[in-house]
Symmetry: C2
C-alpha cells in the first residue's frame, strides 16, 4: 500500500469510489477525481503501479512521442495529468516501460493517491445501490466503480487452435534472451513489427506473417495504421542492405492454426498453406479488452464490443460502473492511445463528482478542459481525413515479399 | 512563379497583402489569410518554397516530433495548417529538411497560394498609406506587409573576431563531405550538438565548446533546453563505450576569438585559454532574427530584441507591418518552434482580414481557433513549470569533460 496515512483504518474497505487498476487510466482518473474535489476513493491493483509497463520487453517504448509542449495547449501525448510531461520528467522522447512506470509513480506520489497494491479483484457485483468487489484481500464496497485494468495481462493467447503453443509477445522480458537465429512472428501491427524489428536489430532473421498489410495502410487514424516511429524503424531496416535480408514480411497470411511436433512448429494460414518454424513462434496478436471479469455488467454490440454511455463512459447495464482505458470505443472510434483515452478522464471525473454532490466542478477541472481532457466531441475521430493526401512519393518500405 | 494564373497581369505588382518569405511562417499566414477570406495577396521569396529546409545539412531533421493526433485537438507539432499533418503526409516522425520542404509545397499547392519565387526583397518603405518593397524584379506595392523570412540565411557568422574563419554549421550540405577526423565545434545548443552527434556517428572525433552547459539545463521551456530527441541521441553516444570516446564536451568555454595560421586554427575562450584545431572549426552559434532588412521599421527593447504588438505581432513603429516566424518574442517567451509561432497565424490573419473589411472572420477561422492557432494568451509560456520536477535519477549524460 502506498499512502496508508490517507486510509482510515475504520471503513478502509468502504469508499465512495473504487478504482480498479493503477496504470495510466486508473491513476489518470483518480487524479482528475481529486482535482474535482473527490477524496473518498481507493485505487487497487493486483500488482504494482504501472505493472503492465514494468513487464514490457526491455527494448519496448511508447509509440507516441513525448514532447513538453504543454504550455501551448499541446499536452505531452503521453501525459495523464495535464500539468505534467513525461518528456520533461524523464528527458526522453520515447519512454521505455520502466521509465513510464516511474512517471506514473511520480504522479501518484505527487497527488498522494490512496493506492493499495497487491489486491486482486476477481469479481464485481452490484447489491442494491452499492458495489461489492471480491478480492483476494476480502470484499471492498463502493458506491461507484471505475474499471481501469488495462489490457496487458489479457493477451489473446488462445485466439485459434494451437495459439498456446506460441510464445505471446507480452511474455518476453528481453528479446536478447531468446535463443536461436530464425524466428517466426505472427502479427503485423505494432507489437508484431516491434518484435520483428527488435529481433532483426539483434542480428536474427525474422519471417513475419500478417493478416493484412498494415504497413501499407494509409488510414489517417493512428489507431488503424502504423505509427510514424515504427515506419521510421521499418524503413531504416529495409533500406539497409545487410538488415533487409533478415526480414521477410508475408502479407495476407492469416495464421489460423499451429501444430507442434518433435520440436518443430507448423503454422497454417487461411488457405491451409503451411510454414515451418524451428523455434517457438512469437504470437503478437494483441490483447483482450481487460474487461473480462466484469463482462456481464456491460452490454455488448453486434461486434461483441462493450458499450459505454456517450455521456460518461458508464455501463449502460449497470449504473455507477464506469470504464477508463484503451478498450474504449465510441462511434467506431478506438481510444487505444493514452492521448485518446485520457481525453475522457475529465468527463468521467466530472460525472462522478457531480453525483457525489461536489461543487464548482467545472472551475476545479478547468485545466483539464483547457488541455483537452474533457472531450465530449465523440465525432472527434470519425472524420480525421487530412486536407492533403499522403504523398505518393513518400519513402515507403520497398522490399516486401 | 507557382500560380501565375492567380495573378492578374495588370496590377501584378500591387496587392492588399504582401508576404515576404515562403517558408512555414509565410505559407502558414497566407493559408490562414485565405481561410479568413483574404485573396488579394502575393507571397514572394528570394529562393524557393522551403529554401531554408532544402539547405539544411542532409542529416538534419526537425527536433519536434510529428504525430497525427490532430483529431484530438493535438495538432501535429510541425503542421502549419491545422488540417494537415507532416507525420501523416510524409510517414516519418522527424522530417528531414527536403521532406519538410515537400510538405510546405503540398500545402501551398493545395491552397493555390500565389507565390512568386526568385524575388529578393532588399528594402521596405512606407509611403503614405502603403508599402513599397524594392526587389531585384522591381517594386512591389501593398497596403499590408507580413515579414516572414525566417532565420536560416542570416547566420551569426560575424559574432566575434575571427568568426568568419570558421565554417558556419548552416553552410554544411552533408556532414559526410567534410574531410578530416578531429573536429572542433563551437556552440552547445541544438545546432552544435547536432553537428557533433552527426560527426561522431560518422566516426569522427569532436571537441565541443559551449558557453554554458545547455545539456544540463532543466528549464521546462523547450526553447531554453535541449530537446528530448537530442537528449536521446546524446545519451546513446555517451553510453556507447566506443562512441563516447569520440566526444568531448567543454562546458563554460565561450569562444570569443579565432586566429588562423598556416592551416591551424587557434580558438580563445573568455579567459584567453587557447585550443587548437587542425581542421577548420565548425561555428554552430545560430542565427540572427532575419529582420535585418526591416530593422529600422521595428522598435527594439533594451536587449535589442524587436518589439511586436501584443494584439497581433505588428510593428509598433510602422502600422501595417506584421511579423511571423521564429524570432517572435512576447513577455520574455520565445516562439522559436513551429508549434509556437504558428499559434499566432490566426491572430495575424484575423487582424489583417478585419482591416480589409472581411466578414464572418471568426467563423471562417474556427478550425484555427480549435487547433490553438489563434493564441491570445501571451502568458502561455511564462509559467510553464511542471507539477512534478524532473526526475533526479533520470538517465543523464554521464561523461562530461
Amino acid at each position: 500500500m502506498y499512502f496508508a496515512r490517507n486510509l482510515k483504518s475504520k471503513g478502509r474497505d468502504r469508499s465512495s469510489v473504487l478504482i480498479v487498476g493503477a496504470g495510466p487510466s486508473g491513476i489518470g482518473v483518480a487524479t482528475a477525481l481529486k482535482q474535482a474535489g473527490v477524496t473518498d476513493m481507493q485505487i487497487v491493483d493486483a500488482r504494482e503501479i504501472g505493472a503492465s509497463f514494468l513487464n514490457w520487453p526491455r527494448q519496448m517504448s511508447l509509440l507516441t512521442p513525448s514532447f513538453h509542449s504543454n504550455s501551448f495547449g499541446l499536452t505531452d501525448l503521453n501525459a495523464i495529468d495535464p500539468e505534467t510531461s513525461p518528456a520533461d520528467y524523464l528527458r526522453t522522447q520515447h519512454p521505455k516501460g520502466d521509465q513510464y512506470a516511474k512517471y506514473l509513480r511520480a504522479v501518484a506520489v505527487y497527488h498522494e493517491l490512496p493506492i493499495r497494491t497487491g489486491v486482486r479483484v476477481h469479481g464485481l457485483a452490484k447489491e442494491g445501490d452499492h458495489f461489492i468487489a471480491s478480492t483476494d484481500k476480502g470484499d471492498l464496497k463502493a458506491d461507484i466503480v471505475v474499471w481501469a485494468t488495462g489490457q496487458f495481462f489479457s493477451p489473446r493467447d488462445q485466439a485459434f487452435p494451437g495459439a498456446e503453443l506460441a510464445l505471446h509477445s507480452s511474455k518476453v522480458n528481453d528479446w536478447n534472451e531468446l535463443k536461436g537465429d530464425e524466428f517466426t512472428v505472427i502479427g503485423g501491427y505494432e507489437s508484431g513489427l516491434d518484435a520483428a524489428l527488435n529481433l532483426v536489430d539483434l542480428g536474427k532473421s525474422v519471417s513475419l506473417h500478417s493478416r493484412g498489410e498494415p504497413w501499407s495502410s494509409d488510414d489517417p487514424d493512428p489507431s488503424r495504421s502504423i505509427s510514424p516511429r515504427t515506419f521510421d524503424r521499418l524503413r531504416e531496416i529495409l533500406q539497409s542492405s545487410e538488415k533487409s535480408k533478415k526480414l521477410e514480411l508475408f502479407k495476407n497470411s492469416d495464421i489460423c492454426r499451429i501444430e507442434e511436433s518433435q520440436g518443430w512448429w507448423t503454422l497454417f494460414d487461411q488457405d491451409e498453406i503451411p510454414s515451418v518454424s524451428h523455434i517457438r513462434p512469437i504470437l503478437a496478436n494483441g490483447f483482450h479488452s481487460g474487461l473480462e471479469p466484469v463482462q456481464s455488467l456491460f452490454a455488448h454490440d453486434e461486434n461483441n464490443l462493450p458499450v459505454f454511455s456517450e455521456e460518461a463512459d458508464e455501463s449502460t447495464l449497470t449504473p455507477g460502473l464506469f470504464y477508463s482505458g484503451p478498450a474504449l470505443v465510441h462511434r467506431n472510434s478506438l481510444f487505444c492511445f493514452i492521448y485518446k483515452f485520457r481525453a475522457r478522464f475529465g468527463v468521467v471525473a466530472r460525472e462522478i463528482a457531480s453525483r457525489l454532490g461536489k461543487s464548482e466542478i467545472d472551475e476545479k477541472l478547468s485545466s483539464y478542459d483547457k488541455a483537452g481532457f474533457i472531450n465530449t466531441d465523440l465525432d472527434c475521430c470519425t472524420n480525421c481525413e487530412c486536407a492533403i493526401e499522403p504523398s505518393d512519393a513518400a519513402p515507403e518500405p520497398k522490399a516486401f515479399s
